[in-house]
């Protein structure tokens, strides 16, 4: 039989098998029967010359393979480009027949495939593979010896361990890593003495450092009765990596005996050791306070910083003065740590300690205390904050006002407004109005907030209300809108300008018609220009594209300067409808913004040319006629091509 005929014959058989499988699938409507499919895949694996298909057959056998496919997979192990795929499948098949077949294949496989097979035996943890694997530890090929070590370490049986231990000393890294794995297997199985013996074996001086420190940790975890001695030795020993490991263990398993020993030698410890001891001590809560106080004065800034941050975990109110002092002075990282603890320290008496400290501390510390009260969000702090919000010292007042904003308590709105009404000096009143505006913006009950604000405003002469305008957009209510409109149309230009600016910050687009009316009133007046720009900006807050377009259409005739037109086009570009595109097209003849309009129109037509083919066909020639930008022209030309080439002409492949 010629190879060509053989290939044809094979192809025909494969096709037949696959067609059978497909037929079965169609008749069952749930896919081919797994056994039928498996047989087809085995045939592909055995007969196809196409590496991609054979690898793919291996891949599919992961899900449906039975012992029947094992011979074909094992046979594929010696084939360079299929070996890995076959190994991967064999690694996953849960049948004992796989192991014996793999052992049988080991002598026949060479090169990279052999290393893969050795790994595979290890991954399958085949105890019977120890015998054929052990001699490979003496191979001249370092990659093969390393794979054999890896495999024996994974298997971890007594036989595997004996083979690894019989290797010459010092152990090469691969063997040492494998012995660590064996020790871990024994530790997890509760075979403590054996695990400890292995860890000690690996802690000898000629082991690589990562192995020694891993072995040290393994030993400390295994022989718990020796842990104290081991950590003490490591802390004061000279070996960096093991000492580092000891820090981690101390944190992982805090121990009072050890802590007492180390605290007694605090001054002999290096900074990193002091930090580890402190961390371990914090696990015991408030009893760590003396250590934290000591550490807060440490020569090392890292230790100081950590100590201040850890104070949050103690619940000890006596730390409040120390934290206030640290928050108010020194380097910023330490201040931040102290602030962190001030905001989070909880426990009986902490809030009281903080509040009483405010009455007696220097200004910088008072300010830090006020800041903490805001961050702690304790409603009981409100009265105190309100009192400090009108403090004679401007920095104290500012800190209290910020804290009130942070506290964000709706119950503070009425007293803040009262304080503002009672103050005549603008420098004092404005910050209070700002606080009230913040509270209004977040008020869960807008009706009540509105009532309170207008009750306060009624106590202010109309002419003096400009300073209160920040409250109006914060409310964004109908009543607020009427108040702003009253001033916008009023005789005082400063007040009118402030009212227009208030509209520009409205939460929704509802004042846009008012602003448009203002803009039309006296088109050349600066206030009208401001109103127009505000109106354009405000349309952005209209969620409906259709409504936004109606607003912009009514604004468009009144846009005069290039800046106003660009602002308008920016809004129009966001409305991806044919109507918006038509409005943009009207600017193609406007010399001020023709190029910008051409680019924006191209953008709009790009995103909707399938839906608005006719419009694109009409407007794109205009773009090409007007634009001088190579980029716009290129995009427009491309779009014209797509438009001409039919309904799917522009679809991506």
């Amino acid at each position: 039989m010629s190879p060509r005929f053989g290939f044809r014959f094979f192809t025909a058989r494969c096709l037949l098998a696959l067609l059978t499988a497909v037929g079965a699938a169609l008749s069952a409507e749930v896919g081919p029967h797994p056994r039928t499919l498996e047989q087809a895949l085995i045939e592909t694996l055995e007969r196809s010359t196409d590496v991609v298909r054979r690898c793919d057959a291996c891949r599919q056998l992961i899900d449906i393979g039975t012992p029947a496919c094992i011979p074909a997979l094992v046979a594929a192990l010696s084939q360079e480009r299929v070996s890995h795929a076959a190994s991967n499948t064999l690694a996953k098949l849960p049948f004992p027949e796989v192991d014996s077949a793999l052992r049988g294949a080991l002598p026949q496989v060479t090169g990279a495939a052999r290393i893969g097979l050795v790994d595979l035996l290890g991954i399958r943890r085949d105890g019977a593979a120890v015998e054929p694997l052990s001699p490979l530890l003496a191979s001249a090929d370092p990659a093969l010896t390393e794979a054999a070590s890896r495999a024996l370490g994974r298997i971890g049986s007594d036989g595997a361990l004996a083979a690894l231990e019989s290797q010459p000393r010092p152990f090469v890294p691969g063997v040492a890593h494998a012995l660590l794995a064996c020790a871990e297997i024994r530790r997890e199985a509760g075979r403590t003495p054996e695990a400890a013996r292995l860890y000690r074996l690996l802690m000898v001086d000629d082991s690589p450092e990562p192995i020694r420190s891993a072995a040290w940790m393994g030993l400390a975890r295994t022989e718990t009765s020796q842990r104290t001695e081991l950590i003490t030795q490591a802390f004061f020993g000279a070996q960096g990596p093991i000492r580092d490991t000891a820090f981690q263990l101390l944190r992982e398993r805090p121990d009072r005996t050890l802590l007492a020993a180390f605290l007694g030698r605090w001054n002999e410890l290096a900074a990193v050791q002091r930090l580890a001891v402190m961390d371990a001590h914090v696990a015991f809560g408030a009893e760590a306070v003396p250590t934290l106080r000591l550490a807060a004065k440490d020569a090392d800034p890292g230790v100081r910083r950590a100590a201040l941050a850890s104070m949050s975990k103690t619940g000890d109110p006596s730390l409040v003065p120390l934290l206030l002092e640290a928050a108010a002075a020194g380097e910023m990282p330490e201040r931040e740590s102290a602030r962190y603890s001030l905001a989070r320290l909880t426990g009986p008496g902490v809030a009281e300690a903080l509040e009483s400290a405010l009455e007696r501390t220097p200004v910088p510390q008072t300010n830090e205390g006020l800041r903490a009260l805001g961050e702690r969000a304790e409603p009981r702090a409100a009265a105190l904050l309100l009192r400090f919000a009108v403090n004679e010292d401007a920095t104290v007042a500012y800190a209290a006002q910020r804290a009130l904003v942070q506290l964000n308590d709706p119950a503070t709105l009425a007293p803040v407004l009262d304080l503002a009404v009672a103050r005549t000096a603008d420098s004092v009143r404005r910050p209070l109005v700002q606080v009230a505006a913040n509270l209004c913006a977040d008020a869960p009950d807008k009706v009540e907030a509105n009532r309170l604000v207008f009750a306060a405003l009624r106590r202010i002469p109309i002419a003096d209300r400009t300073a209160w305008f920040d409250l109006l957009p914060a409310l964004s209510t109908t009543e607020a809108s009427a108040e702003a409109e009253l001033h916008a149309l009023g005789p005082d230009p400063d007040s009118a300008r402030a009212a227009v600016l208030a509209f520009a910050r409205w939460h929704d687009a509802s004042p846009t018609p008012i602003l448009i009316r203002l803009a039309r009133r006296d088109p050349s007046a600066p206030l009208s220009r401001l109103a127009l720009r505000s109106a354009i900006t405000l349309t952005d807050r209209e969620p409906s594209g259709e409504q936004r377009l109606i607003l912009l259409e009514s604004i468009a005739p009144w846009a005069q300067s290039p800046e106003e037109k660009v602002l308008l086009l920016t809004q129009l570009r966001r409305i991806r409808t044919p109507a918006a595109a038509r409005l943009v097209a009207t600017f193609l003849v406007d010399q001020d913004v023709a190029e910008r309009a051409a680019a924006d129109l191209t953008d709009l037509l790009e995103v909707q040319h399938e839906a608005a083919r006719q419009l694109a066909a009409t407007l794109l020639p205009e773009v090409v006629k007007i634009s001088k930008s190579p980029e716009t022209l290129e995009r427009a030309a491309l779009l014209q091509e797509k438009t001409k080439s039919g309904p799917n002409g522009g679809a991506r492949p």
């Binding site: 793919d56 660590l180 990562p210 070996q239 990596p241 290096a270 990193v272 320290l345 969000a377 964000n408």
Partner: protein, 446 residues
């Protein structure tokens, strides 16, 4: 008294420590900058701020080069090369042009900083094993094609290096387990690149604490804005072939993956080896896990529904692998949370709530808090010095990644599954469990 032999006896051979001592003497003699690794100081000399960490950067694509030299997306202006507490000692990549560029730039930066024209102490390697063999390197930064992250992290930790590893930290459950067990066995500091826990002005931390403290009431649903993903080949290898560019070690780039010819469009792990999204989803689900703080022992039902994934937790919370309709906040690494009292969404740009005051009012003292860390790189470097556990430590990173991978396998297998987060296996589905690992190509088995 220390024993005369055993692990605490003075060593006379050339160890990492003696090597470093000699290096230190040499550098001191020539007035060179301090190149001692952070871990090399004796007890008396070991002060936190003075220890300069010797770093190698492996993988010099956009992400790696960004970490190294700075760039638009990076968190530290100027990258690691500009930090005073880091000495970049080596750079490594399998693509010669990238390697040459980064190598030259690093030496130029140091030449200028140390006023040493012709500075050449930053070494370039195309084989990472040479980097790992250097005893003077404390830590490696891994920013590689996805399929290399776990393997290289494990090899680096075995070599005694601390590791910063970009996401995804693993492509299979077995890889994630290997990262955790290796970090535990060798006690290395490992920080995953899930930096939303520490960056972006603390928005994610704030959101996490608000959710945990039921600011939006009882949590009911979470929208994770991304589908999960996993290693799940739909094709084991490929026949499309293009000439391998000069200076590109293609076989090393592939590493543990099935062999395939070089293809022109190969930029990262080939998409036909993956189901779903393993690129962005680790960020999204890491944050979701952080906020949700799920029971580590309760099984999770993973529902497959016409190409969509939903996670059903024992508490009744449902996590959707999709956007919340109409909510744009959440797209950049974030999520949207629905509770009985309101809704909260967060991403890298915004933290919003409905009603608004839910997100703006601070939590009272005594609320449940999570780790407060600002700056992912600072946290990593601090932990190298202090041996504290970084915020994105292996256990937490692996738990998040396994959530992604379990969902990704449901997506690949197109069926619903039940995930056991304790045993790291699917319950009652042996076939699905066959996809929890793949055999790395020789010689990259761990």
């Amino acid at each position: 008294m220390a024993p005369s032999s055993g692990p605490f006896s003075p060593a006379s051979r050339l160890t990492r420590r003696t090597f470093l001592k000699h290096t230190a003497q040499a550098t001191a003699a020539f007035g060179l900058p301090t190149l001692l690794p952070a871990t090399a100081f004796g007890a008396k000399g070991n002060t936190l701020p003075s220890a300069r960490i010797n770093l190698a950067v492996i993988g010099l694509g956009n992400q790696g080069a960004g970490h190294l030299l700075g760039g638009g997306w990076t968190y530290v202006p100027g990258g690691y090369i500009s930090r005073d507490d880091v000495q970049v000692r080596a750079v490594c990549d399998v693509q010669r042009d990238r390697l040459t560029r980064a190598h030259r730039r690093c030496n130029e930066v140091y030449a200028e900083r140390f006023n040493r024209p012709g500075y050449t102490d930053v070494a370039a390697y195309s084989d990472f094993r040479e980097v790992l063999a250097r005893p003077d390197i404390d830590a490696v930064l891994l920013a590689l094609p996805f399929h290399w992250h776990a393997t290289l992290a494990v090899l680096a930790m075995r070599a005694g290096k601390d590791v910063y590893c970009e996401k995804p930290i693993a492509l299979t459950v077995a890889e994630a387990e290997a990262v955790v067990s290796t970090a535990q066995r060798y006690q290395r500091v490992y920080q995953a690149g899930t930096q939303q826990r520490t960056e972006y002005g603390g928005k994610f931390r704030t959101a996490c604490e608000l959710i945990r403290n039921e600011r939006i009431g009882t949590l009911r649903e979470i929208y994770a804005y991304r589908a999960p993903g996993a290693f799940f080949p739909t094709q084991w290898t490929s026949s499309s072939e293009a000439p391998v560019p000069a200076g590109f070690d293609w076989d090393r780039w592939l590493g543990p993956l099935p062999w395939r010819p070089y293809a022109e469009n190969t930029r990262s792990t080939p998409s036909d080896l993956l189901a779903g999204d393993v690129n962005w989803s680790p960020h999204h689900y890491d944050f979701v896990q952080w906020a949700l703080n799920p029971s580590p022992t309760s099984p999770v039902e993973i529902e497959y529904d016409r190409g969509r994934i939903r996670y059903h937790h024992a508490t009744g919370v449902v996590v959707h692998g999709a956007d919340f309709p109409g909510e744009t906040t959440g797209g950049q690494g974030g999520a949207c949370f629905l509770g009985s009292k309101g809704r909260l969404a967060v991403d890298r740009d915004r933290l919003v709530s409905y009603p608004g005051h839910l997100a703006r009012t601070p939590l009272p003292a005594g609320s449940e808090r999570v780790s407060y860390v600002n700056g992912h790189q600072n946290n990593f470097l601090d932990c190298i010095r202090t041996r504290r556990q970084p915020i994105s430590h292996p256990e937490v990173a692996a738990a998040s990644m396994m959530t992604v991978l379990a969902g990704g396998l449901a997506l690949g297998l197109k069926r619903s599954l039940t995930w056991d987060p304790t045993k790291h296996r699917f319950i009652g589905d042996d076939i699905a469990n066959r996809h929890l690992s793949y055999l790395p190509r020789s010689p990259w088995s761990l």
